[in-house]
Symmetry: C2
Subunit: 724 residues, 2 copies
C-alpha cells in the first residue's frame, strides 16, 4: 500500500466519522428520538434533558457529560460490569499512552536516521516516510537495536504497572458493589447441583430440605428444587402471546373508532398456520377464549411440574448473607460428585435447563465444546471453502429456480461468481459469535454472564489466531500449525519476518475500525431507523413501543474480543512501527468516551456479575503482551542481533506477574469474602420476596400470597416421609 | 553379571534373611526385650503376651497376628496414616500380582521361543536362561511384539483399577476417622495467618478477637495469638534439663546407699563448659537452686511473651466442628494476602516458628527451596566430586595431624584413597533425607506432617532420577538433561536402549533390598543393642529407660520414596524382563507383612494427618506408571516395530485418570466436608481443654486453672480499646 492510498483511506474514514458525529448531534437533540439515544435514562425514570445540566443541548455536551460522570454514576446507570468495561478501556489507554510518550520521541529518531532501506539498492525511491520511521530501517546487527529492546521492556513494565493498579481498582469496585446494604436475592442463596438420587420414599425436595437443614440448622431458610418447566413454559408463552394479541387488537379497534366509523371495525385474523389458513375470527374474542382454555391447563401443568418433574438441582436460600457466602465455599459431601455447591446467579440470568446437568455430563460437554472450538479456530477455512464450492451459481439455480432471472444478468453473474466465497466467509464470521454463545451454553454453564465470559474467551482465540496471526503469516493457520508442531518457537520467527511488511495494513485497519465503527456506534443509525419504522407501522400498544426501543446490553462477548484484537495489534507493532501508537491511543480514548456515553444513556444491563469479566480481560491482555514479547524476540533475532535473548526473561516475568495477580486478587472474584458478606443490611430482608424471586415466571402463581401453596406443592408429591 | 554370581548373591541374602528372622523369633520371646519388640503395645497399656492370643509364642505367631488384624486394629495402634501406608503397600502388591498372573504365562513362552540372541552370532553360548526369557530375545519387527504391547495395556488398566478402588477405600478410612465422636482439638480450630498490622491502639490479640467475633458472632469461642516463644522455651528447656538431672542424681544417690555405705555418696558434677570446668558441686542442691532461680524468670518471660511478643498469626477456636470446618474453607478478607485461613494442625505437630511467616515470605522461600532441590537432583554429583577432591588424604593430614599415625599405615592409606569419594557420596546420601526435611521446614509449612509429605515428594524425585534413570542411562543426569533439552522425547529412547541390559542388576537390587532390609527391620538389631547398652550404663530413672526404647514413627519421608523406587523399577521391567515380577510381588507381600507387624507392635505415630499422605502416593504411582509407559514406547519403537505408537494413548489415559481422581477424591482430603464435620459428638466438648491443648508447653501455667490468666495476659497488654 503506497502512501497516497493510505492517506486517502484515512481521510475517507475520517470524513465518514465527522459526518456521523454531526448526524448524532443533530438527531439526538430531537425529543422524538429520545428512546433511541436515551433509553437507559428513560428506563431509570429520569428526564434526559432536565436535571442532567445544560450541557446536553450543546454539540459537545455529551463529551462534557461523559467526562464528568464518576464511577458511582456509571455503576448506577450500567452496573459494575459496565464500569469494569470502562476500566478495561482506560487501562489499555493508559498502557498505550504511557508507552507512546517514551517510544515516539526515542524510537522515531533512532530508526529515521539509519539507512537500511536506502542501502538495499533499488528500493530507495519507494521508501515512504512511514517505512523510514520503523524498525525495518535499522541495519542488521546495529547497536541501535538496544533502544528497541529497552522499548520492549518499557512497554512490558508499563503494562504490569497499569494492570496491577487496575486489578486493585476493580477489586474495590466489586467489593463496594457487593457490600451495599441493598437486599439482593442472589446473596442469600446458593446453587446446589448433583443432588444424589433420593431413597424411593423421599422426593428430591425432601432430601434437599433435610440435608441442608441438618448441615445448617440455624441458617437454612428454604430450598427450591429446580423443575423441568419446558411444558409449563410453553403454555405460559402461549397465554402471553394471546394477551399481547388482545392488547394489540384493542389498540387497533380503538384507533378505528376515532375515524368516521364510530362503532369501529373489530380486528380479525385467521387462526391457522402463520395466519394464512382457516376461517377469519374476531381476534379479541378468540384470544380471550383461548386464554380461558389455557389457564386451567397451566395451573394443572404447574402442579404437575412441581410435584412430578423435580430435577436433581436446587436453589437453597439462607436467612443471612454470611451464611450463604460461607455455605457456597464449603465442601458439603464427602464424594466430590454429589451435592456440589456454588454461588447462586441472579434470578434473571439463570439458565434453568442447564442446572440439572450432572457433573460428568458437564465435563464431557465441556471437552467436546473445546474440541469443536479448537477445530473451528484451526480449520475454519475448510468448511467455508467446501460451502462455497457447493454453492456455485449453477447449483443455486437448480435449487432455487426463481433466482434464475436475476442470476442470468451478466453483471450480477460476474459479481456473484467473484464474491460467493467471500460472501460465505462474511456470513460465517457474522454468525460466529452466536455460534460461540450457543456452544458455551451447551457446556452446561448455570448463568448467562458465565456463558458470555466463556464465549468471549473463545472468540478472542479465534480472532487473534485468524485475523492477526493468520493474516500476518499470510497463510492458513493450518499450515502454520504444522510448522509449530515441528518447531514450536518457529512461529515467532515467522511472525517476526512477516509482521513488519504488514504494518500499513494494520494501521489502516485500526484507523478504519475506530472512525467508522465508533461513528456508527455513536449515531445509532440502524436502531434509529428500525425504531421509527416499527413505531410507525407495527407498534400499537405502549408495551410494543417499549420493545421496539429496548436497547439491550453492551454485548461483551463480541465487544471485548474485538478490542483485544486492537490491543494485540497495537502492542505488537508498538516497537516495530511506533507510528501506530497514536492511532491506538486514539482508538481507546475515543472508545472510552463513546462507551461511557452509551453506558450512561443507552445500554441497559441484562445481568450483573459484579465485574467477574475482569480476570478474563486481565489474562487476555497478558496473553497479548506475551505474543508481543515472543514476536519481538523473533524480530530482533532476525536482525542478526544476538542480544535479542535479553528479552527472554520478560516472558518469565509475565508468567510470574499473571500468577501473582491470580493468587492475590482472583479469589475475591471467584468467591465472596466473608468480610464483604457480613456487612450490615439496611433493613430486615423480606425472605419471602427473596424466595419468590427464584420462581421461574411460568410457575409463579397469579397472586404472590400463593407462594406458600407453591412450596407445599413441591413438598407434597408422593412423599411418605415426614415433611419438615 | 553372569548367572552364577546372580544366584550366589541371591542365596547369600536369602540366608541372611533367614538368620535374621530366626534371631527375631528367638529374641522377641524374651520378656526383657519387650520394650524393643512391643513398645507400641506397652505404651497403649497392654500386656504383649496376654490377651493377644496363643499365637505369640509360636515362631510364626507374628505372621498369624498380622494377617488377623483388621483395619480398625491398625488404626487403633498406628493411626490412619499407618493404615494408609499399609493400603499403599497392599495396592502395589495387588497391581504387581494381578499383572504377574497374566504376564508370566503369556510373555515368558512368547519370548523364550524366539531366537534373536542366538542369531546375533558369537553371543549364543553366553545367553543365560534369564536373558532368553526377556524382551531382548524377540526379533526386531516380529509380530510377537503385539503380546508385549497388550501386556503394557494390561498392566496399565490393572493399575487404574486398583488405584481407583484404593482411593475409595482410603477416602472411607479418612471419613470414618474424621467422623468419630471423639473430641479432637484440631477439629474445633482453624489456623489464621497473615493477620494485618492492627491499628496502634489495638494489640494483635484484640484485632483477631474483634475480627472473628464480628464475622462468626454465634460460633466464635476464643482466639490464641501465636507468640515468639524462643526465649521462654529456652528457659523452660533449661529447667526441664535440671529436673532430669535431679531425677538422675537421686537415682544414683539411692543406688549408692544400698551398698556397704548406708549414707551413700551424693553425686557431684562440674557446672562449667561440658561438665569439664569449674568446682565440683552437689548436683541435687545445685540444680534445685538453679530451678528456684529460673522459675520466676520463666514466669516473667511468659507474661512478657504473651503481651509483647504477639505474632501476626493465631489459632481460632470455634464452639462446634461444623463451624470450624466451614470457616477454614471460607475466604475471609477481600485482599488475598490478609487473614488467610486453613485447617488447624494437631497441637503436637505444629511448627510454631513457621506460623507467623507472611504469605510473600512463604512464596519466596518455596521458590528458593524448589530451586535448590532441582539443582541438587540434577547436579548433586558436582559438590560430591568437589568435596572428595578437597578432602584428599594429604589435606586431611594437614588439618587433623593426630590422624597421621593411622593414615600412614599402607593398607589404611590404600583403602582410604580408593574409597574417599564413595565415602563422601555415602555420607551425602545418608544426610539427604535430613537435608530435605530441613529444606521443607524452611518453606514455612505449618505442620510436621506437611513437612514430611513435602520432603517425601522431593526425595522421590531425587531417587527416581538419580538411582533409576541415572543408573539406567549410565551417565550423569546432567548430560542426560542436556539431551532432554535438545530433544525432549529422546530420553525415553535412551532409556529404552539401556534398560534391558541392566535387568539383572536391578533384579539383584530388589532382592537384596527385601531380604536384608526386611530382615534388619524385623529383627531390630540396632535398636536392641542401643537399648541394652543405654539401660545398662546410662539410664537410672524410669523416664530415661522409657526414652531409651522410644520407638519413633514409621518415617514416611524415606520409607515411601524407597518403596516407590522399587515400584518404578518393577513396573518398568515388568514387560522387558517379566521374571522380575515374582521378586516385586515378594517385596511388597513381605513388606506389607513386616510393616503391619511393626505398626501393630513397634512404631508410635508422632502425628495424625488422617491419611493426607495418600494423594501424594497415588500421584507418584501414576508418575511411575507414566515413566514406564513412555519407556515402553521407546523400547518397542527401537525394536523397529512401528505399531509402538499404539501405546501413546496410554499416556493420555493416565493423565485423564489422574485428573479424574484429583477432581473426584482430592477435595475431601484437602478440606473437611461439612457432612463429616456435622456428626454428633459423644459428649459436650470441654472447650477449655481444647483451648489449652494449643498452648505451647513452655507457656503453660503450672496449674491448668490459670488458663484464664493466660488469656487475660494476652488481651491485657497495651490495649486501650475495649476488651471483648
Amino acid at each position: 500500500m503506497d502512501i497516497a492510498s493510505f492517506v486517502t483511506s484515512l481521510l475517507t474514514s475520517f470524513i465518514i466519522f465527522v459526518v456521523l458525529v454531526l448526524v448524532f448531534t443533530w438527531l439526538s437533540r430531537r425529543p422524538s428520538n429520545a428512546p433511541v439515544y436515551y433509553p437507559s435514562v428513560l428506563l431509570r425514570g429520569l428526564d434526559p434533558w432536565e436535571g442532567r445540566g445544560r450541557g446536553t443541548r450543546s454539540p459537545v455536551g455529551w463529551i462534557r457529560q461523559a467526562l464528568a460522570a464518576s464511577d458511582a454514576d456509571v455503576v448506577a446507570a450500567g452496573g459494575v460490569d459496565a464500569a469494569v468495561y470502562l476500566v478495561f478501556l482506560s487501562s489499555v489507554l493508559a498502557i498505550l499512552a504511557l508507552s507512546a510518550i517514551v517510544l515516539l520521541p526515542v524510537l522515531l529518531p533512532v530508526a529515521g536516521t539509519d539507512h537500511a532501506l536506502e542501502k538495499s539498492a533499488g528500493y530507495a525511491p519507494n521508501v515512504t516516510e512511514f517505512e523510514r520511521l520503523a524498525l525495518g530501517n535499522v541495519q542488521d546487527g546495529s547497536s541501535r537495536l538496544w533502544a528497541f529492546i529497552l522499548a520492549v521492556y518499557w512497554v512490558s513494565f508499563v503494562t504490569y504497572f497499569v494492570l496491577w493498579r487496575s486489578y486493585k481498582h476493580v477489586s474495590n469496585l466489586r467489593a463496594a458493589a457487593r457490600s451495599t446494604s441493598d437486599v439482593k436475592p442472589e446473596e442469600f442463596a446458593i446453587l446446589v447441583r448433583d443432588v444424589p438420587i433420593p431413597s424411593p420414599d423421599q422426593s428430591i425436595k425432601d432430601s434437599v430440605d433435610s440435608y441442608f437443614r441438618a448441615l445448617h440448622p440455624d441458617t437454612f431458610y428454604k430450598a427450591m428444587v429446580v423443575t423441568d418447566i419446558k411444558k409449563a413454559d410453553k403454555i405460559f408463552q402461549e397465554i402471553e402471546g394471546h394477551r399481547q394479541k388482545i392488547a394489540h387488537a384493542e389498540a387497533v379497534y380503538a384507533e378505528s373508532k376515532t375515524t368516521n366509523k364510530p362503532e369501529g371495525t373489530k380486528p380479525t385474523h385467521k387462526p391457522g398456520f402463520l395466519g394464512l389458513i382457516g376461517k377469519k375470527v374476531d381476534t379479541i374474542e378468540y384470544c380471550n377464549e383461548k386464554i380461558k382454555e389455557l389457564l386451567p391447563k397451566l395451573e394443572d401443568e404447574q402442579k404437575n411440574t412441581l410435584s412430578e418433574k423435580q430435577q436433581r438441582a436446587a436453589i437453597v436460600v439462607f436467612n443471612n448473607r454470611a451464611a450463604a457466602a460461607s455455605a457456597s465455599q464449603t465442601l458439603h459431601a464427602q464424594m466430590f460428585d454429589e451435592w456440589t455447591v456454588a454461588e447462586a446467579p441472579e434470578p434473571r440470568e439463570i439458565i434453568w435447563s442447564n442446572l440439572p446437568r450432572k457433573m460428568y455430563d458437564r465435563q464431557t460437554r465441556q471437552t467436546v465444546v473445546y474440541l469443536i472450538v479448537f477445530l473451528t479456530v484451526v480449520f475454519y477455512m475448510i468448511p467455508i471453502t467446501a460451502i462455497s464450492a457447493v454453492t456455485t451459481l449453477d447449483k443455486l439455480k437448480e435449487k432455487l429456480p426463481f433466482l434464475k432471472v436475476v442470476v442470468d444478468q451478466p453483471l450480477v453473474k460476474t459479481i456473484l461468481q467473484a464474491y460467493l466465497p467471500q460472501l460465505a466467509l462474511i456470513v460465517f464470521l457474522a454468525l460466529l459469535p452466536t455460534l460461540l454463545v450457543f456452544l458455551s451454553k451447551s457446556e452446561g454453564l448455570p448463568s448467562q454472564s458465565h456463558v458470555v465470559r466463556a464465549a468471549s474467551g473463545k472468540y478472542f482465540y479465534f480472532i487473534v489466531f485468524n485475523v492477526f496471526i493468520g493474516y500476518a503469516i499470510g497463510a492458513s493457520l493450518f499450515s502454520a500449525l504444522k510448522q509449530v508442531i515441528n518447531n514450536p518457537p518457529g512461529i515467532f520467527q515467522t511472525l517476526g519476518a512477516k509482521l513488519p511488511g504488514n504494518a500499513t495494513f494494520f494501521l489502516t485497519f485500526v484507523a478504519l475500525k475506530f472512525f467508522v465503527g465508533y461513528g456508527l456506534e455513536l449515531s445509532r443509525l440502524v436502531p434509529l431507523i428500525i425504531f421509527h419504522l416499527k413505531k410507525k407501522y407495527l407498534c400499537k400498544t405502549e408495551d410494543e413501543v417499549r420493545a421496539a426501543w429496548a436497547p439491550g446490553d453492551l454485548g461483551y462477548n463480541t465487544r471485548v474480543p474485538n478490542d483485544m484484537l486492537i490491543v494485540t495489534i497495537v502492542l505488537c507493532y508498538s516497537v516495530i512501527a511506533p507510528l501506530i501508537m497514536p492511532f491506538g491511543v486514539a482508538y481507546f480514548a475515543l472508545g472510552w468516551l463513546v462507551a461511557k456515553n452509551q453506558v450512561l444513556r443507552v445500554y441497559v444491563p441484562s445481568y450483573e456479575s459484579n465485574g467477574r469479566m475482569w480476570p478474563h480481560m486481565h489474562t487476555r491482555i497478558i496473553a497479548s503482551l506475551m505474543i508481543y514479547q515472543a514476536t519481538m524476540i523473533g524480530i530482533i533475532g532476525l536482525k542478526k542481533f544476538y542480544y535479542s535473548a535479553v528479552l527472554t526473561p520478560l516472558l518469565i516475568i509475565s508468567l510470574i506477574f499473571a500468577y501473582t495477580c491470580h493468587t492475590r486478587f482472583y479469589p475475591a472474584f471467584a468467591k465472596t469474602p466473608l468480610e464483604v458478606a457480613s456487612q450490615e443490611l439496611k433493613e430486615m430482608p423480606n425472605m419471602g420476596a427473596i424466595y419468590t424471586a427464584y420462581i421461574p415466571p411460568c410457575l409463579k402463581p397469579e397472586k404472590l400470597e400463593d407462594v406458600e401453596v407453591f412450596e407445599d406443592a413441591q413438598s407434597r408429591t408422593t412423599s411418605r416421609a415426614p415433611s419438615f
